[in-house]
């Protein structure tokens, strides 16, 4: 027997993903994601009672009329693909609104099952749903389920079996308003008298579609002789309906009819046992969180707390991972005799991959926080509060989350732009995200602020740098909106979902898959990049130079200071002759107007791999030994001696603006939809960085 192919459709926030998890349980055989145009539908298979189930999860849409892109995806799939059963997932506590989509789905004339999810919540709210009555009206099986408690899930699967085996779906008994019903009756009688048939449509269905101006049906009818008799009848019927509705816009009429039907069904099938007028919990929470005075400070506090947690708590395992990779590198190094191979594996691969894995704890904590924001329903409130401010800069209220995340790490920030539905809003946000200085740029700032400002000023300078980056980002967003991503704004019409306790299972699932994805993707790219950079900095080898310094070091015979100086000198010379050094020399003219020497140029170029590398590269190039960090006193001295104040400030500006690290760039390309966009980003950020650095340098010099 063939697998039963099921399509899940439902409005957003009805717990579709949870239900899928509950249905497939541990029987899940394969989970794969494949992307549509901008949104993803996912597919998975599992076995139930020796039957294969193939499930396709469509993006959550409020409607399938196909105005927005994800609605189009859902619409096209439902209309054109082959499948056996539609599961329409509804939120039991918001039946009326959810039924609007159900009414549209019924028009598809496919086998369908209604899963009324969150039945447990409905019970708690005192809602009693008459399932039998609902089945009688809609004409498809209705099952109360709860993905949370797994209640009804087994029954749902059984009913899918049943309905998949059946030939046809029962007719639904949906009743329109009186005048519409009268005209439906008149038209369908007319069809019956003439014995007129079209496709598998019933006379009633034909009448409904004619009255609501179904374009496809009109096209077909156009060629039929019956049209001559039909036309005057349609005109009369429509006139009657227009008078009743006091409107000639059939779309509007259809909308009010549907809303009335949904309201009618709800009134007939749902009994509320709780007294009306009682303040709901959501209302009480909203009164505090959306308060005009307190709302934004409360939000800022949450954000602050999240970032404190991310970076304070994340720093602990970060140190362990760092130490672990260091120790691992040493052990591996000690067992590989060949010098070139050892250097490749230890300095290239292990160090490079380690630098990426190190950020994993931060990313996990940040994602837990973001998942909490989203699943509790708070995120929509934040977008609501901030939309006014962000809209002024051509951004959407929802852009806020990625922008704030960007101060931590640009990689998860890029990923979180997915919550933005409009393609233009998403691209603008992606393009300006790099201006929010990430945590890895901090060492660079600390180093330069420490070198060129007094200790009491350095903190303020850091603050100014971060704020300046953010302001620049907003200004750039406005510029992009005006000149590049022109056109209509995405309207802000957003459901404010009810506050819900977050489900641990769902958060675990989200965070786990995101973390694994980060490790896999960034890991492979970083691996390749690490090898490349290692190679460029280690080759071509300079055997003559090495031999020359070896003798010099031998001659120094035990003078520690002299040996150390000689070793650094050798490193510098080797680096200068390496491919990386050559690159620095070649690109020097490009950076010269900004007051950068070739060493600073190389530091910026290696910084393309990871921003932390900027400091260590400077350390190597200014020859104070390999182990430098931002607190290194000798590096600060060297910088002061070799770099002018103007060049240093221009350098900070450049670092602040130019292309984010390799891992982030790769994620950017994926999220934006192609390497083409990465190329644009490179041009955009480099131009802005160059121009602003140039201005900074010229003003200060």
């Amino acid at each position: 027997m063939d697998a039963i192919k099921i399509v899940l459709a439902g409005q957003p926030n009805v717990g579709k993903s949870m239900l899928i998890n509950a249905m497939s349980g541990s029987n899940s055989l394969k989970v794969g994601n494949f992307s549509g145009v901008t949104v993803e539908k996912s597919e998975l298979c599992f076995e139930h009672h020796c039957h294969m189930f193939e499930m396709v999860d469509l993006p959550g849409t409020y409607s399938i009329r196909g105005f927005s892109q994800d609605e189009q995806v859902a619409h096209d799939y439902l209309l054109n693909e082959k499948y056996d059963v539609i599961i329409n997932v509804l939120d039991s506590t918001h039946l009326q609104r959810n039924l609007l989509l159900t009414l549209e789905l019924l028009k598809l004339n496919k086998k369908m099952v209604l899963a009324l999810n969150m039945a447990d919540e409905a019970k708690k709210e005192g809602l009693k749903i008459d399932v039998k009555q609902l089945e009688a009206i809609i004409g498809v099986p209705v099952i109360l389920v709860s993905a949370n408690t797994k209640e009804g899930v087994e029954e749902l699967l059984e009913r899918i079996h049943d309905i998949a085996d059946r030939e046809h779906r029962d007719n639904s008994n949906i009743i329109y308003s009186n005048p519409v019903e009268e005209e439906i009756l008149a038209l369908s009688n007319f069809f019956d008298e003439r014995d007129f048939k079209l496709r598998d449509l019933s006379s009633r269905e034909m009448a409904i579609r004619i009255l609501f101006e179904d374009k496809d049906l009109y096209r077909e009818l156009h060629e039929k002789p019956i049209m001559i008799e039909l036309q005057p009848r349609i005109v009369a019927s429509l006139e009657h309906i227009y008078t009743h509705h006091d409107s000639k816009n059939i779309t509007d009429i259809k909308a009010s009819e549907y809303i009335a039907i949904a309201r009618g069904i709800r009134m007939e099938t749902v009994k509320c046992e709780r007294a009306k007028g009682q303040k709901t919990l959501t209302k009480k929470i909203d009164d505090i969180l959306l308060n005009k005075v307190l709302g934004i400070p409360i939000f800022l506090f949450f954000m602050w707390a999240l970032f404190q947690l991310t970076f304070e708590l994340g720093a602990v395992p970060m140190d362990w991972i760092d130490a672990g990779f260091g120790a691992f590198g040493e052990i591996v190094g000690s067992i590989i005799p060949h010098e070139g191979t050892r250097s490749l594996i230890v300095d290239g691969i292990i160090a490079g991959v380690g630098a990426v894995v190190m950020f994993l704890p931060n990313i996990i904590i940040l994602y837990i926080g973001l998942a909490l924001l989203e699943t509790t329903g708070y995120m929509s409130r934040v977008a609501f509060m901030l939309d006014g401010f962000f809209h002024k800069f051509g951004l959407h209220g929802k852009s806020f989350i990625p922008l704030v995340t960007g101060f931590g790490c640009t990689v998860p920030a890029y990923m979180s732009t997915r919550t933005l539905k409009s393609e233009k809003d998403r691209l603008i946000t992606l393009f300006i995200l790099g201006f929010m200085s990430c945590g890895a740029k901090l060492p660079v700032y600390v180093l330069f602020a420490g070198a060129f400002f007094g200790p009491e000023e350095a903190g303020n300078i850091l603050f100014i740098i971060y704020i300046a980056g953010a302001m620049l980002g907003l200004v750039m967003a406005k510029i992009l909106r005006i000149f590049v991503f022109k056109g209509e704004d995405e309207p802000f019409v957003m459901e404010m979902p009810k506050y819900r306790m977050p489900s641990l299972a769902l958060i675990w699932h989200t965070v786990y898959s995101k973390a694994m994805g980060y490790l896999k993707k960034a890991g492979t790219f970083i691996l390749a990049a690490s090898i490349l950079i290692w190679f460029a900095s280690a080759y071509p080898k300079q055997p003559l130079l090495g031999a020359e310094y070896e003798t010099k070091i031998e001659q120094a015979s035990g003078d520690e200071v002299k040996i150390s100086t000689l070793q650094n000198e050798l490193k510098l010379k080797e680096l200068e002759a390496s491919y990386l050094g050559q690159l620095g020399k070649v690109s020097e003219p490009f950076f010269a107007p900004l007051g950068f020497d070739w060493k600073m140029a190389v530091a910026l170029e290696t910084g393309l791999a990871a921003k932390e590398v900027v400091v260590s590269t400077l350390g190597v190039l200014y020859a104070v030994g390999d182990d430098v960090d931002e607190g290194s006193a000798s590096l600060i001295r060297e910088l002061k001696a070799n770099v002018s104040f103007a060049s240093a400030m221009a350098f900070i500006v450049f670092v602040m603006i130019y292309l984010p690290c390799l891992a982030a760039s790769m994620v950017f390309a994926k999220e934006a939809g192609g390497y083409r966009y990465l190329f644009y980003l490179f041009i955009f950020t480099t131009t802005v960085a160059w121009v602003l650095s140039f201005i900074t340098y010229r003003i200060l010099v």
């Binding site: 409005q11 409020y62 409607s63 009329r65 105005f67 927005s68 506590t93 918001h94 009326q96 609104r97 609007l100 989509l101 409107s247 779309t251 509007d252 909308a255 009010s256 549907y258 809303i259 009335a260 949904a262 309201r263 959501t282 209302k283 909203d286 959306l290 005009k292 709302g295 934004i296 929509s380 977008a383 609501f384 509060m385 939309d387 006014g388 401010f389 809209h391 209220g397 309207p491 802000f492 019409v493 957003m494 459901e495 404010m496 979902p497 009810k498």
Partner: protein, 74 residues
Amino acid sequence: MKLSELKKGDRAIIKKIDTDESLKSRLVSFGVARGSELSIEAYSVGNQTVEILVDGTLIGLRRSEAVDIEVEKI
């Protein structure tokens, strides 16, 4: 009067929605259409956005959308 002229706590019935089809359809799928009853739940700072309650669903709207909705206070 316009939806944007209502105050927090006001209740009203929608008389007319004067926007393009795509936004109208989006509003309809939320249950916001001619004849729907709504109440104003919250305004954000500067009245840039408004939160309305329609048939048990809370919906956030931007001011520019709210001015296009004609209502009658009840």
